[in-house]
C-alpha cells in the first residue's frame, strides 16, 4: 500500500487523529498508538495563568519524535482570527503547518467559504503549509488547490455528527478534479464510513470524535486503522464494476448435464 505524502512529507499512516475529548490522557495515548497514526491535531488556547487546573500543554503528553503536530484554527469565525491563531501556533509549536478552519456558525460548524479563502490566501503568502477544512464542494476545493494549499480537507458530514459520508458523489468529483491530497475531515462515525471514503480514492481521513467518543476508544482506533487500510487497498486493487444482473463465478462450461 502506498504511503500518504503531503507537501513532500511522507507519513506512515493515512489516518490523522484529533487529540480532543478522550475520557483521559492515558486513553488518548493508547488510542493514538492503536490507530497507527503519526500525525495528530492540536488546538491553540489561552494559557491559564491563575491556577494549575487549566488545560495542560499537549507538549507534556506527546513525543514529537513520534507524532507530527498539525495545529488547527478551531473556533475561529473570521479570516483575521484564523490567521492570528495560525501565527501563534507557528510560534508556539515551531511548525508552519496548519489545519485551517474558519467556521460559519456554532450550530452547524460548517466552514465560512469566503473567510476560508481569504485566510488561506494570507497564510500561503506568509509561508504556511495550509490544509483547509472545507465543504464537500468541488469548486471551493479547486480554488483552494489552485491557490497553493497542500491538501484539501472536505467534510464527510458535520463535525462530531458521526453521520458518515453524506455526499460520496461530491467526494468522488473532488477526488477526480483535484491533483493534491484529498483528506476527508469530519463526519466519520464508524469503520465502514472510513472504508467507504478510502474506496472513493481519497488520500486519508482526519477524525477525532469517532474514536474519542466511542464506548471503547482504543478498540475503535484499531477498527479505523484496519478500515482505512482495507479501503485504501480496495481502491488500489480496483474494484469490479457494478452490474444489475448476476454473472456466474463458477465456470459455466463442463456442467454434468450439458
Amino acid at each position: 500500500m502506498s504511503n500518504l505524502i503531503i507537501a513532500g512529507k511522507e507519513f506512515n499512516s493515512r489516518l490523522i487523529v484529533g487529540t480532543s475529548r478522550y475520557p483521559d490522557p492515558h486513553t488518548m495515548m493508547q488510542a493514538l498508538e492503536a490507530s497507527g497514526t503519526d500525525f495528530i491535531t492540536v488546538s491553540i488556547r489561552r494559557l491559564n495563568l491563575k491556577s494549575a487546573d487549566g488545560q495542560e500543554s499537549i507538549l507534556n503528553m506527546i513525543d514529537r519524535n513520534k507524532y507530527s503536530i498539525l495545529p488547527n484554527t478551531a473556533g475561529c469565525f473570521t479570516a483575521k482570527e484564523a490567521v492570528l491563531t495560525a501565527q501563534l501556533a507557528r510560534e508556539a509549536l515551531e511548525t508552519n503547518w496548519v489545519k485551517l478552519e474558519v467556521i460559519g456558525d456554532d450550530e452547524t460548524l460548517f466552514p465560512d467559504v469566503t473567510e476560508l479563502l481569504k485566510a488561506a490566501e494570507q497564510l500561503l503568502a506568509d509561508g504556511f503549509i495550509v490544509l483547509p477544512y472545507c465543504n464537500d464542494d468541488p469548486i471551493t476545493c479547486r480554488k483552494l488547490a489552485d491557490m497553493g494549499c497542500a491538501a484539501v480537507m472536505p467534510l464527510g458530514a458535520p463535525i462530531g455528527s458521526g453521520m458518515g459520508i453524506r455526499n460520496p458523489y461530491n467526494i468522488q468529483i473532488i477526488r477526480d478534479l483535484i491533483d493534491i491530497p484529498v483528506i476527508v475531515d469530519a463526519g466519520v462515525g464508524t469503520a465502514s464510513d472510513a472504508a467507504l471514503a478510502m474506496e472513493l480514492g481519497v488520500d486519508g481521513i482526519l477524525m477525532n470524535t469517532a474514536i474519542a467518543g466511542a464506548e471503547h476508544p482504543v478498540k475503535m482506533a484499531t477498527a479505523m486503522k484496519l478500515a482505512i487500510e482495507a479501503g485504501r487497498l480496495a481502491f488500489e486493487a480496483g474494484r469490479i464494476p457494478k452490474r444489475l444482473y448476476a454473472k456466474a463465478s463458477s465456470p459455466v462450461e463442463g456442467l454434468i448435464n450439458s
Binding site: L47, I58, P71, A92
Partner: protein, 68 residues
C-alpha cells in the same frame, strides 16, 4: 497602568517590557511552547525585549492543547 491579559485586567508598572511582563505572568514557569499576541498582532519571542507595553494594551498568552 492597566493591561488586559487573557481577558483579565491587571495593574502593572509603567515602561514594562513584554518579556518582563510574560516572565511575571508565567510565575516561574518556563516559556516553552507558548506564543504571545499584543493587540491582536503576533509578537515573536525575539521581539519581546524590545516591545514596551502601553496603557490598555491587550496581551494574549497561548499554548497548544488537545484539539481536533
Amino acid at each position: 497602568m492597566n493591561i488586559t491579559i487573557n481577558g483579565e485586567v491587571v495593574a502593572v508598572n509603567e515602561q514594562l517590557k513584554l518579556n518582563e511582563f510574560v516572565e511575571l505572568r508565567l510565575n516561574g514557569k518556563e516559556p516553552r511552547g507558548i506564543a504571545v499576541a499584543l493587540n491582536e498582532m503576533i509578537i515573536p519571542k525575539s521581539k519581546w525585549n524590545e516591545t514596551v507595553l502601553r496603557e490598555n494594551d491587550n496581551v494574549e498568552i497561548v499554548h497548544a492543547v488537545q484539539g481536533g
